[in-house]
Symmetry: C2
Subunit: 429 residues, 2 copies
Amino acid sequence: MTPAPLRLAIAGLGTVGVGVIRMINRNAALIEARTGRAVEIVAVSARSKDKDRGVSLSAFAWEDDPVAMAKRDDIDVFVELMGGTDGPAKAATEAAIAAGHDVVTANKAMLAVHGQALATAAEASGKLIRFEAAVAGGIPVVKALTEGLAGNEITRVLGVMNGTCNYILTRMETAGLPYDAVFKEASDLGYLEADPNLDVGGIDAGHKLALLSSIAFGTQVDFDGVVLEGIGSITIEDIRAAADMGYRIKLLGVAQMTGRGLEQRMTPCLVPRLSPLGQLEGGTNMVILEGGDSGTIVLRGAGAGEGPTASAVMSDILDIARGTRVATFGQPAAKLAKAKAAKADTPAAFYVRLHLTDKPGALAKVAASLGEAGVSIAQMRQQGETEGLAQVLIVTHKTTRDALDSALSAMEATKVMGGHAVALRIEEV
Amino acid sequence: MTPAPLRLAIAGLGTVGVGVIRMINRNAALIEARTGRAVEIVAVSARSKDKDRGVSLSAFAWEDDPVAMAKRDDIDVFVELMGGTDGPAKAATEAAIAAGHDVVTANKAMLAVHGQALATAAEASGKLIRFEAAVAGGIPVVKALTEGLAGNEITRVLGVMNGTCNYILTRMETAGLPYDAVFKEASDLGYLEADPNLDVGGIDAGHKLALLSSIAFGTQVDFDGVVLEGIGSITIEDIRAAADMGYRIKLLGVAQMTGRGLEQRMTPCLVPRLSPLGQLEGGTNMVILEGGDSGTIVLRGAGAGEGPTASAVMSDILDIARGTRVATFGQPAAKLAKAKAAKADTPAAFYVRLHLTDKPGALAKVAASLGEAGVSIAQMRQQGETEGLAQVLIVTHKTTRDALDSALSAMEATKVMGGHAVALRIEEV
């Protein structure tokens, strides 16, 4: 007796949706061998029916309205690939849950904001929301964390989770180009979201980090608790100075549970150039999972693109076909603790760049401001001069961000600085 | 209503067994939150009851005979951590299957040889054999391949899967020491198996590769089809010459399905120094999974040790507690095709080191032998001379191993060589 096929409805036929259709067409025999049943697309929905997508849709029912499609009673799984925090994606996901379907989604923005409510609703009726494709594209990191390291207390999750930012930062370095020029290149190449701030502001990567945090620490997704800082203020000088000192600058996500609460940061950081993170080039993603027993597990792969993202969507679909039922965030959503955001970060060394007016005693005032705030200096160098301003680079010893910020405020008050200081954390990896 | 605890019997209380007991003790609350049920150790077995292992066994029934323990009717899962291809490990695993228990094992040797028969027997009665800990220690690579990339056609699996060999090779390079000296160091440090040939002969890593091949290509485990070559003939000169040319030498496992059959090799290879594999230091493991859609997924972590290996065992146990039921090799063992071993390898460039008698025309004879076999030379250098023998290093263009071997035989017949040539594949990664 052959089990019934697993029946899908796919909402959203952009790159990823088309990739999923292609994988199901191409690997049908493989999928059936591996899951013991066929996976079948019943219906699809997208904004335009007639667009040429390079795959035939003629075997599937067409639905103009994804919400109506989500309510069909001839499907088992609703595959949400439309994107967007609210709007049709959320409405259709809610409709699918209400209709008693499992949901597979690649939508990090929706889950980062509504994940707790959606997962609670789905689990109340024994249904699942799966989201491997929402984090780090083709890297099976949600599975590695939720299942592969399930026996571990997770101590820290960190990683580079936005390929566009990593492309921009590595391209600035290799081509010696300023941020604006590389930003324009990335834009021309179509690497940026419609709202580029989602990428370069760290928001997209912050969504992903918030999802991983929830699994790692058993807390409700808390995107508001993620300290966000984009890469727009990073200069080619910062990149070069970091390189001189043996570091590279990455938009790095870090989540860890501390005595002070849950710390979640998505900020540009310095990491050792010879570490796996420091060696990460271009659009590649890397996530590092630190377990109490497993030690450090590093995962690396394509963070975006048709094939990799479709591969992650398929992983969730095949899990459902095989009967694997793991709660959305690794434990029942209704039991997740509310995250208490840490008021202060774990101490670290910092890299500071600032510009000083070329007056006697200026550097002394900087040093005094640091000293008075209890921040001690590991390295300091003054170099170059443009328009009457000298650039000063400082590496501090381990300190708190609060102490550093109060030192920087004190410096600004002395009026010896031109513009604002840039301060980047040096993350121990 | 709380579900019944998952009841375990653990056979083998070495490092890994003790690690599993520690994790269950320490993370009991976490495990119950994540799986919805308690995980409980009912009975344990090992060679000596009285040895001090640093953990209390008083809460568990003691069994002198692991086979008797495997037959207990008050357990759900038999955890086999004794090791060994046959003997008690196999007898107890068979007994556990016959008694209707799931089995979790870290035993690559047993599965590489008897995996097909054991999995078929287990699956015939709806039971599982799980073996995350058998491959690459704490890295959840079995799960990544079986589930995370389940929708992909896998094109190639490769990796460094024996930490001891990688320790020896990187230590030779950094300390400038010959093989024998570092082998002795590793032995003194307790890094080597009781039969060191399991490590340095590539057998242990070959077992692991054969298991991954089965999952990747849907074929029955075929350890006999793995071409094995150890690291014993690698000299410090090879390592230096490779470094000069931008490579490092790794004991590298490669499995790929070709038109000529299944290719499985565990041999010392040259890999680009700046690739993730080339940058792998010390005892760390790395496995690379290449999927048709996912692209290249790199996984890196500790390949051995109490915590990492116990973490992998726990992943299997927690999957069972959660009700996840995936066939041992990703699809039913009874349906796996018999692997047809490839008669010839995929062409590659090769590194060749040989010694020539210092006679006029010797080098010409080498070049002629290569040319007549159709092997063309990309680089050749003659350097140094010891005891009347000059060392010659050659890098070929892409060729087959057969062509190269016939060239090497022809060279030997000319009697201009001292000893045998060393030929190492340059793997494209």
